[in-house]
Amino acid sequence: MNDRNLAMTHATLPDWNALQPGDALPPLELPPISRFDLALYCGASGDHNPIHVDIDFAKSAGMPDVFAHGMLSAAWLARLVTNWVPQLAIRSLDVRFAALTHVGERISCTGTVAEKFDREGRRSVLLKVASANANGVIKLSGEALVAWL
């Protein structure tokens, strides 16, 4: 860790001692996905694959409609975690794309403490995270490792 990181000593992390496996993070509830959301993410992310924004292209590729970028949902999962701890505490984030996320779906991001451990003096927790639609269909699942400095 360099001095850039050490400068952030005021960072507010939850009390590691009080955390228990199974503890839930405050969920992140997103409004229904609009086509406008996908257009914004197309521009901001630099992922210009037309299948996410151009319904004519999507249909020509055999899809009934455009669908959300998987990495937009990944960004929401990252927000779930950075809402809970400062970004500096996140050591890793790994996601698997399980199902397409469609226009109009209302996505919830959830996370729970799966493991808590102290390895070589570094207190950490492993989080299980997931995004799902209103029917509970999992779209993305993954893990995040958070370490206390």
Partner: protein, 147 residues
């Protein structure tokens, strides 16, 4: 089938400058309301030297490669048959607006399942900053659906 001899292939490194306008646009597009990601004064008050690069934005910066299709072309993959299967990030130090990041991509593995009906290409990317410090490592698994 994708030629397995490409396992271990490294691509020419490339550099990307982190622009604060892009970071603000990304915050808007992902619904990020924490001001440290859009307001430099708020970022400084939180101990950051500038606007932080959020966790998944490294994937976007990686797409700024001179030829984002280089691996696809090298391996002869048809993009219409591709799915993004997994994406991983390991973080070592923070990156900020104004940094110039160097991306080093390597084809880590190529394997198949279901008698070749599905092929998997694993790309690993090391990201370092202008001080030569390792910032992050990315792991991208692309799935190829063969007919």
């Amino acid at each position: 089938m994708i030629d397995r001899r490409h396992i271990g292939h490294t691509l020419p490194p490339f550099q990307v400058e982190v622009e604060k306008g892009r970071l603000r646009f990304f915050a808007k597009a992902t619904g990020q309301t924490d001001p440290i990601y859009t307001d430099e004064a708020a970022a400084r008050d939180a101990g950051h030297p500038g606007l932080p690069v959020p966790p998944t934005f490294f994937f976007c910066l990686e797409m700024e490669a001179p030829n984002p299709a280089a691996i696809r072309e090298l391996l002869g993959m048809d993009y219409r048959s591709l799915l993004h299967g997994e994406q991983g990030f390991s973080y070592y130090t923070m990156a900020y607006a104004g940094d110039t990041l160097t991306f080093r991509q390597r084809i880590e593995d190529i394997y198949d399942k279901k008698n070749g009906a599905l092929e998997f290409v694993v790309r690993k990317t090391r990201v370092s900053n202008q001080q030569g410090e390792l910032v992050a490592e990315l792991r991208c698994v692309t799935v190829v659906r063969n007919q």
